[in-house]
Each structure stands twice: as structure tokens, then as C-alpha cells.
């Protein structure tokens, strides 16, 4: 079993073709710009979408622990009283109270994902395990992937690679594609941005190259952390010196997750970071191209 917080069908940004993305809950990193804040902790948790709330008070009525109350037409939730029974979610008619995270077996996840097999076959798509950090659940990923691959479905993981060598090796043997981030080559900045060193991540990228895995390297372009020319040159040099990977996808940071932070009642750490402009994306892309890389770019067609 694994805690899944979303299974998103017709995903178009998580690998080739039409895909289903299985989002797993829990992540060892705390990236400032994370756009899936509901994935951070492994256990289920409650979200509240004020914009969906009709103020009907049914959740207050349903909560036996007295954790919910109404004040000025707004629902308040006292986490210290919450018994995590999630009766409020069941009682909510509009989806304003949402439960992030549901236990799912590999068989159940595969069954949902296989519903779109025909679309994968026709578009060169498949299933992507994302998160959170899917490598926190190597057995789930491998078992689900095994079922899917038996049916001829391509599988991928979107991972930070912040995991042990053994886990990386194990997962490499059971999925078709890794999509990995190099968030920044600067050790200090990496710690500042994610809470951890990038040492293990870079080691694992090297390992994947040795293992012969198919890998798409991605660089999230975040102003102040990874948008410098120097950083992208170092990234390219690292890949040239240590791996056979010669394709890099540049992902422009976005702030589409703002509402999720609101739903979770958390501050968005990246709220003051500006978005990268097209010119920056083009410049970084050109540097990579000059170094012989094929560049994919999520914003500008550089």
C-alpha cells in the first residue's frame, strides 16, 4: 500500500505522450518553490478550499471532536482537536473540505491507470510516478510498474533522486524512464532551497548513467537559485563528465500552486521569488545547446 494524493489522467507535462500520473505522498526535500505542497508529509491531511465553501456548516455538524467552527461565515479548523476521522470531508457537499492522501494498493492504482491504455499506445505515453518522492515507495512503484509493463504500458518516475543507491538501482530495473531534477549545482544554495545537499542526488545521476537507465534531466529555473549562466554551465559540465545524458529540459518556475498553500493554511515560501523571463530561458537554453545538448523548454521555444 502507498499513500496516493492524486491520480491524474491525461497528464501532458509528466513525460512523453498522454500519461496518467500517480502522485505519491511524502518527500524528504522541502523545495521552496514546490508546487505540490500537499505531497510533503507522508500521511493523509486535510485541506480547506475557501473559494469552494458554501458556508453551510455541515462539516461543523459532522465533526464530533469539535475541531470545526464557523466564524464570520468562514470555517475554522483546529488541528489540535482533530481526530482525523475526516467526517467533515464526507459531509462537505462542495469539495471545500478535501482529504489529501488515500491508501492505495499497486493493483488498485494499476487498474485505474490501465483504463487509458489505448491512449498511451496511440500517443507513446504511459504512466508516471510522481510526488512527493516516489522513491519513498520503491516496492509500490516496482509492483505497480510491473503490472503495467506486463500490459505493455511504458512507465516513468519523476524523482529528486534523494534516495539510497540500492533503491535507485532497484527502481531502475523496473521502470522505463527517469525524470530527474538538478535543482542547482551550488551546494550551499541547494541546502538553502531544499534542506539537503545535492551530493547524493548527483551521485545517483551518475549511477543511473552507469546502469544504462533512460533519463531526462530537468532543471527548474528559479530566479536566485538556478537561473544563472554559471549554474547551467556547471550542470552541463557535470553531465558531460559523468553521464551519457545529453538532453535537458528547462522548467520555468510557476506559481500555479498558490491556492494549494492556501488550502493547507501554509505560507508559500516562494511567493516573493519572481518568475523567470523568456529571455533568461532562451539564454540558458542557448548555453546548453552550445555545449551539445538537446534542449526542451517548458516556456519559450528557444
Amino acid at each position: 500500500m502507498s499513500t496516493v494524493f492524486n491520480i491524474q489522467r491525461f497528464s501532458i507535462h509528466d513525460g512523453p505522450g498522454i500519461r496518467t500520473t500517480v502522485f505519491l505522498k511524502g518527500c524528504p526535500l522541502r523545495c521552496l518553490w514546490c508546487h505540490n505542497p500537499e505531497s510533503a508529509i507522508p500521511s493523509s491531511e486535510l485541506g480547506y478550499h475557501a473559494n469552494r465553501c458554501a458556508g453551510c456548516g455541515l462539516c461543523v455538524k459532522a465533526c464530533k471532536a469539535g475541531a470545526r467552527s464557523v466564524k464570520d461565515g468562514k470555517i475554522l479548523h483546529d488541528a489540535s482537536l482533530c481526530k482525523e476521522c475526516y467526517a467533515c470531508v464526507d459531509a462537505c457537499p462542495t469539495g471545500a473540505a478535501e482529504l489529501y492522501g488515500k491508501e492505495l494498493s499497486p493493483e488498485e492504482a494499476a487498474e485505474i491507470a490501465l483504463k487509458d491504455k489505448r491512449y498511451y499506445d496511440k500517443s507513446g505515453g504511459g504512466v508516471t510516478f510522481s510526488g512527493g518522492e516516489p522513491l519513498l515507495y520503491p516496492e509500490f512503484v516496482c509492483r505497480t510498474s510491473e503490472i503495467l509493463r506486463r500490459s505493455g504500458v511504458h512507465t516513468a518516475v519523476e524523482t529528486s533522486l534523494f534516495a539510497s543507491k540500492d533503491i535507485v538501482t532497484a527502481v531502475a530495473s523496473c521502470v522505463d524512464l527517469f525524470m530527474v531534477d538538478i535543482k542547482t549545482m551550488d551546494e550551499e544554495l541547494h541546502v538553502k532551497a531544499t534542506g539537503h545537499s545535492n551530493g547524493r542526488i548527483l551521485e545517483n545521476i551518475r549511477l543511473l548513467s552507469e546502469l544504462g537507465a533512460e533519463v531526462l534531466v530537468r532543471v527548474p529555473v528559479v530566479p536566485g537559485f538556478s537561473d544563472g549562466s554559471d549554474n547551467i554551465r556547471k550542470t552541463a559540465d557535470f553531465l558531460i563528465e559523468n553521464t551519457r545524458f545529453r538532453t535537458v529540459e528547462l522548467l520555468a518556475m510557476h506559481k500555479l500552486a498558490t491556492h494549494k498553500y492556501e488550502a493547507l493554511g501554509r505560507d508559500y515560501p516562494a511567493k516573493d521569488i519572481p518568475l523567470p523571463d523568456d529571455e533568461t530561458m532562451r539564454t540558458l537554453g542557448n548555453i546548453l545547446k552550445e555545449k551539445g545538448f538537446t534542449v526542451k523548454c517548458a516556456v519559450s521555444e528557444s
Binding site: I12, C92, R118
Partner: protein
């Protein structure tokens, strides 16, 4: 001017029209001629009124010629001056104008049909004239009823009027120094077309005649299968060196332009001006606010699903045009390059409706249409099925949610304490069967009595419908091979949601009794909000969930089994032809407005699901939607529409094209019936509302027609935006 330059000038004219035509413009000449014609023919038997009225109009209608015309045939529409506006409003204000039939002002035209273009092509107007002359002689010799003689004589007069109109265009072209067009119109004024261009010219002018004459009913005409019909002429032209593929493309461009030019500004969801709404809208524009359909692709009698002309027509579709609407008939044998081109055009937001031959042809056969005619099926606006020599005037069925609620509630209380979901199905079936039986009896009385009484009514539609001259009967009195009942199976999405919720809440989980549910529905869940939550949480159609999809399938099969059973008479012969259709147009809003709260948690007065779509808000992904819909038994359904709105990024670039092809082919291979796509982001639509002047080219698919988004009323815009935007 070269062909390319002319086609390009026509395109510019369209863009100018789409952007700058005044919503106040209307066909003043059209209205005034109809009004004058009626005064001229007052007191005559109706067929003669029609024929002489048509003659009056066609002898006087403008025959404008523009320097860049590759084809002739355009209407004069303008913003009426004060005097004209006064006269126009006076015509509209007359009480008799509102009468649906035998309308004295605008007379009457059935429209909504695919004319018999094959015969028009084969015989030309001279063929129709000689055929009707011969029939008249035959009837006279046989001492036929006076009414029959008047009927055929009127047809003869009408054909001659058509010929006169085309000759007038020929003369006008000559005067304007357009000798080639003068010659073409001169040829087709009587004779059968002998080239690709002549055929398109004749078709366009016949369609114009239909539009000129049409009044209170929309002239929603389908050109039929142009790629199939015109292929022999096209190939002969190429072989003889009369035409190149490129020039044929420019001809199609201009033909498309003329169809687009025909439409006025606005669309018929706009408010009724007589009820204090907009000054534009259905009433003002109804003479020309109607899609013209062109059908391409599909199986033919020779089995071939695609011809070089299919691809050429497809290539020339202009995404920015509101009209014509192309119906692309998909088959599993379509060439890959043609299919990819189709998907490319779709993702450019073109006005294309895709139909699945693999389901429609079996549905037509199931309805009782002969194979050779089933293969020739077409669609006319909006998404109505059509076969050669067909007509319809009887319909049965309607919104399924209303049928369910009718057996569930008696006024505000529970009608019967049903013991299981099966009993509810049975009651819905019985309720439906009663209305089907009554309507089918009316059908039999009208169409299966022998002999049919002489027709006292004639319109332009009869003149170009197969079988009418031979039988000397109009299309409602036995003049056609296939008199058809439309069986309306509407709002399947909401209906399935209702059954799934009933099943779950009242029977499977036993959350409440039916009596408690009925009470909650009566006060719109005010007394039982918790119960509404449970109802809302029941499985919903469109999420690829068998718990509800099975109800959608069962509901449809329950109703369609009844149609099949009741189509068979006491002797065991199938004698009723039913086209089962699922289209709602925009009626889902009106029907919802008069329906109480429903067991799926829907509030009193809220809209029902539109066409084949799930109830708004229930779609999680486009693949789940397509999977749910394609489970329905479409080999028993003749037509329907599935509106899908995708975000631009979902179909952008090379990968986007691959995705578009994958989505469409997977859906159709799984047995989906139809798909019509709008590629428009919600943010863009909101921007368009704020700055309409910047979005005059933004087209959206409504039900079986396209509309310029910024021309729609605010309510219609909001309704469109509420439809689920699908992507990630």
C-alpha cells in the same frame, strides 16, 4: 485577377465581415420581397402561392457580382435605415408571423435537410423541368385530382423560376465583364453541370434560392457529400487539363467564403428582442443565422473511405470561419495522412463535427434504412441525421431526467414506493412506452395509410427531394422513401447521475428511504442538506466509473428496446423508422429551469447535462470523459453531439498533434459517436468578455454550429465557460 488573388480577396472580405459587420445588419431585401410576394399571391392554393411567390422573388432579387467572385451568389444585407427599420419591424410585429405553419408573411419552408444534390448534379434544372412536365402530362392523361395537378404544375413553375434566377446572374456577370462566370451560370441555368466549378456554382445558387425563400424556419441546409459527388467531375477536369489541384483549392476557398458570408452577425442564443433583450439575435438574424453543412469522408458504395477530394476539402477548411460546418465521416480505414490532417484542423479550432461511420451506419441499418442509403447518410444542422429521400415531422421522447421524475414524484409526493432500482427502470420504460405507442400510432395513421391524400402543401424542399415528383406528394404525405420519427433521448448525463444516485442512496447503501428523498426533493434539499451531500457524492457520469456508466447504458438500452419493440406492427413487420438522437441544442437550460431538484443532488432549476456531455463540473479528465461516453450503445443512435473543450497547451506543437490524434482515434475506435472540439482556455474567454474588440475571430462550437464567442449573449457565454475545460 488570378484565381489565387480572387480567393485571397474573398478571404479578406470574410475576415472584415466577421470583425466589423454590424449586429444590426439584416436581409432587408429578403424580408421585403417575401412580404411583397405574399401580397401578390394571396388567395391562390398554397402550392401556387409558393411557386408564384418564388417567381416574384427570383425575378427581383439582387444578383450582385464582385470583381473577386469565383462563384456568384451573395445576399445584400445591411443595417436598415429608419424607413426600412420601420417596415421591417412592422412585418415582424404582425400576429400571423408567429404562426408556425402556412405563415403568410414568410410563407413556409421545411428546411433542415440535405437536398438531393446528386440528382441536381446529374440532371440540372432542365432535367427537373422535363420530369415535372412529363409527370403533369401523365397525371392529366390519367384524369388525376386537381390538387395533384396544381402540386406538380407549381413545381414546374418553381423550377423555371430557379432557372430564371441563375440566368439573371449570368446576365449580371456579363454586364460586369465577368465572361467566364457569365458562361458558367448560363450553362447551369438549365443544363447539368459538366465541370467541378459549374457543379459548385449550381449548388451554391440552389442553396441561395432556398435561403432566399426561407423565412421563419432556419434554412439549415446540408450540401451532402461533396467529395464523393464531385470526384468524377474533378478527375475529368484534371485529366482534360481544365483544372489543377491548386485551382480547385481556390474554388473551394471561395465556396467556403460564400457560405461564411451568408451568415449574419450574431447567433440564436441571443435574447429575443421582443422580450426586451438584445437588438440582435434569433429573430433579427434567423434568415441567415444557420449553419450550412458539408459532408466529407466516409464509406461509399465502392467501399472507399477517402478520395483525393476528401483531403483537398479538408486542407481548405479555414479555422476562423463560422460557416460552413464540415461533417467529417470517420472510418477505421481512413488513410493516416488524412486523419492527421483532420486532427490538425481540429486543434486549430475549426468548425468540424466528426462522426463515426462504424456506429452511424449500423444505427441507420437498425432503423430500417437500406444499406445503399445508410452508406449515404449525412447530417444537417444542428446534428440531425439525414438519408436520401427522407423527411420527418413526428418526434417522441425528450429529457430523460423528466421521465424519471415523472414516475418518481406525483406533484410533490412519492408516486409509488418502488422496491428496487429495477422497478424504477420498469416504470420509466412503461411511461416512455405509452408515449411511443401513441406517437407511433399517429405515424402509422399518417404514413402507412394507403393511398395518401393529395398534397395541398409545397415548398422549395420538395422541389429538390428525391421521390416527390414521382409520387406527386410532398415530403410529409408520402413523397419520400423514409418518413422518419425522431426519438429524442436527451440529457443522458444527468439521467444516469439520477439513476446512480437513486440506486446508491435509496437501495444499495440505504442512506434514506424513497419517501425521505421525495420530501428532500420537494423543498430543494432545504430540510435535508446532509442527504444532498450524499446524493452529490454518488458516482457521476463522465468519470469513467462503471457504477454510473452502467446506468447510462441501461437507460439508453431500456428506451431503445421499447422503440424497437413498438416499431413492429401487429403483423410482426417493422413499419416505423425511428432515428434515435441525443441532441439537446441549448434546451438543457430551459428543461432544467422547469425541473425540480433531482436525486443526483442537482438543485431545482439548474441546467441538465447538454447533448452527450456529463453534467457540468463532473469531468475529471478528457480520457475519462471519452471512455464514459464511448460505453453508450451508439450502434443504435443516429446522431448526437459531444462537446469537448480543450486548453490550447494540450494540443500545442508536434506532441499536441500526436495527443489530438490519439484522443480522437482511441475514442472513435472504442465506439464513440461524435466529437466537436473547441480549443479555448477559460482565461482567454474571460479576456474576450472584457475586451471583445480583440477577440472577434474567437470561434466556439455550441451544439451543431459555431459562434463568434463575443457575439453570444452574456448568459450563453457564461454557460459555455462553465463547460469543463479539459487539460491539466
Amino acid at each position: 485577377m488570378k484565381m489565387q488573388e480572387k480567393a485571397s480577396a474573398s478571404h479578406e472580405e470574410i475576415i472584415e465581415m466577421l470583425r466589423n459587420k454590424s449586429p444590426l445588419s439584416t436581409l432587408t431585401e429578403h424580408w421585403f420581397l417575401l412580404d411583397e410576394a405574399w401580397k401578390e399571391v394571396e388567395g391562390l392554393p398554397q402550392p401556387m402561392q409558393f411557386a408564384k411567390g418564388l417567381t416574384y422573388i427570383l425575378e427581383r432579387a439582387s444578383v450582385p457580382v464582385a470583381e473577386h467572385d469565383l462563384f456568384l451568389g451573395r445576399f445584400i444585407d445591411k443595417v436598415p435605415d429608419d424607413e426600412e427599420e420601420k417596415r421591417y419591424k412592422e412585418i415582424w410585429s404582425r400576429e400571423e408571423h408567429l404562426k408556425p405553419h402556412h405563415n403568410p408573411i414568410v410563407m413556409h419552408n421545411h428546411t433542415h435537410i440535405t437536398l438531393d444534390w446528386k440528382s441536381i448534379l446529374r440532371h440540372g434544372l432542365s432535367g427537373y423541368i422535363s420530369k415535372s412536365e412529363a409527370k403533369l402530362k401523365e397525371l392529366r392523361d390519367a384524369g388525376a385530382d386537381e390538387k395533384e395537378l396544381i402540386f406538380i404544375e407549381s413545381m414546374l413553375i418553381a423550377y423555371r423560376a430557379c432557372s430564371t434566377y441563375i440566368s439573371r446572374y449570368s446576365e449580371a456577370a456579363k454586364e460586369a465583364g465577368q465572361d467566364e462566370l457569365a458562361e458558367i451560370c448560363g450553362e447551369v441555368a438549365l443544363g447539368a453541370p459538366s465541370t467541378f466549378r459549374e457543379a459548385l456554382q449550381l449548388f451554391l445558387l440552389i442553396l441561395n434560392i432556398d435561403y432566399l425563400y426561407a423565412g421563419n424556419l432556419n434554412p439549415t441546409i446540408c450540401y451532402g457529400r461533396l467529395d464523393e459527388m464531385l470526384l468524377p467531375l474533378y478527375e475529368a477536369d484534371l485529366a482534360a487539363g481544365r483544372l489543377t489541384r491548386e485551382d480547385a483549392g481556390y474554388l473551394i476557398d471561395d465556396f467556403n467564403c460564400k457560405a461564411c458570408l451568408t451568415l449574419g452577425r450574431g447567433e440564436h442564443q441571443m435574447a429575443d428582442p421582443r422580450q426586451g433583450g438584445n437588438i440582435t439575435g434569433f429573430d433579427r438574424n434567423n434568415a441567415y443565422d444557420d449553419p450550412t453543412y458539408i459532408v466529407i469522408g466516409g464509406y461509399t458504395a465502392k467501399g472507399k473511405p477517402s478520395s483525393p477530394l476528401t483531403k483537398l476539402f479538408l486542407e481548405r477548411i479555414q479555422p476562423r470561419y463560422e460557416n460552413p460546418l464540415y461533417v467529417y465521416r470517420w472510418t477505421k480505414e481512413d488513410p493516416e495522412d488524412v486523419f492527421e490532417l483532420l486532427c490538425d484542423k481540429l486543434r486549430q479550432n475549426s468548425s468540424i463535427l466528426v462522426y463515426n461511420d462504424e456506429t452511424v451506419i449500423p444505427a441507420m441499418l437498425n432503423a430500417g434504412i437500406a444499406k445503399e442509403d445508410a452508406l449515404e447518410y449525412t447530417m444537417h444542422g444542428c446534428n440531425w441525421p439525414d438519408v436520401p429521400s427522407y423527411s420527418t415531422c413526428i418526434s417522441v421522447g425528450g429529457p430523460i431526467p423528466k421521465m424519471i421524475m415523472a414516475i418518481l414524484l406525483d406533484g410533490s409526493s412519492l408516486r409509488r414506493n418502488y422496491g428496487s432500482i429495477d422497478e424504477i427502470y420498469e416504470a420509466v420504460g412503461d411511461h416512455f412506452r405509452a408515449s411511443v405507442r401513441e406517437r407511433f400510432a399517429a405515424y402509422r395513421a399518417r404514413y402507412r395509410s394507403d393511398p395518401q391524400p393529395p398534397s395541398e402543401y409545397l415548398s422549395i424542399t420538395e422541389c429538390f427531394t428525391e421521390g416527390v415528383i414521382e409520387k406527386a406528394r410532398n415530403i410529409f404525405d408520402g413523397g419520400v422513401r423514409y418518413p422518419v420519427v425522431y426519438t429524442l433521448i436527451r440529457n443522458i448525463g444527468t439521467a444516469a447521475d439520477i439513476m446512480a444516485a437513486l440506486d446508491e442512496v435509496a437501495f444499495t447503501k440505504k442512506i434514506c428511504t424513497l419517501e425521505q428523498l421525495a420530501k428532500a426533493l420537494e423543498d430543494d434539499f432545504a430540510s435535508a442538506p446532509e442527504l444532498r451531500t450524499q446524493c452529490l457524492k454518488a458516482a457521476k457520469f463522465g468519470t469513467d466509473n462503471n457504477a454510473v456508466d452502467k446506468h447510462a447504458v441501461r437507460l439508453m438500452n431500456t428506451l431503445l428496446d421499447i422503440v424497437d419493440q413498438e416499431s413492429v406492427n401487429e403483423k410482426g413487420e417493422k413499419d416505423v423508422i425511428s432515428f434515435n438522437v441525443t441532441i439537446t441544442d441549448m434546451l438543457h437550460i430551459q428543461e432544467g429551469a422547469t425541473l425540480c431538484a433531482t436525486p443526483d443532488g442537482r438543485r431545482c432549476g439548474a441546467p441538465l447535462s447538454e447533448n452527450l456531455s456529463p453534467t457540468v463540473g463532473n469531468v475529471e479528465s478528457v480520457t475519462a470523459l471519452l471512455n464514459s461516453v464511448s460505453k453508450l450503445p451508439f450502434d443504435r443512435i443516429s446522431s448526437g453531439a459531444l462537446n469537448v473543450r480543450l486548453r490550447k497547451d494540450a494540443v500545442k506543437g508536434d506532441e499536441g498533434l500526436v495527443r489530438m490524434c490519439a484522443l480522437l482515434s482511441a475514442y472513435l475506435e472504442k465506439g464513440g459517436l461524435q466529437l466537436q472540439l473547441s480549443v479555448a482556455d477559460t482565461a482567454e474567454l474571460r479576456q474576450a468578455q472584457e475586451h471583445p474588440e480583440d477577440y472577434k475571430d474567437l470561434m466556439v462550437r455550441i451544439t451543431g454550429y459555431s459562434a463568434v464567442f463575443v457575439d453570444m449573449s452574456r448568459n450563453s457565454q457564461e454557460e459555455f465557460i462553465r463547460r469543463d475545460e479539459l487539460s491539466v
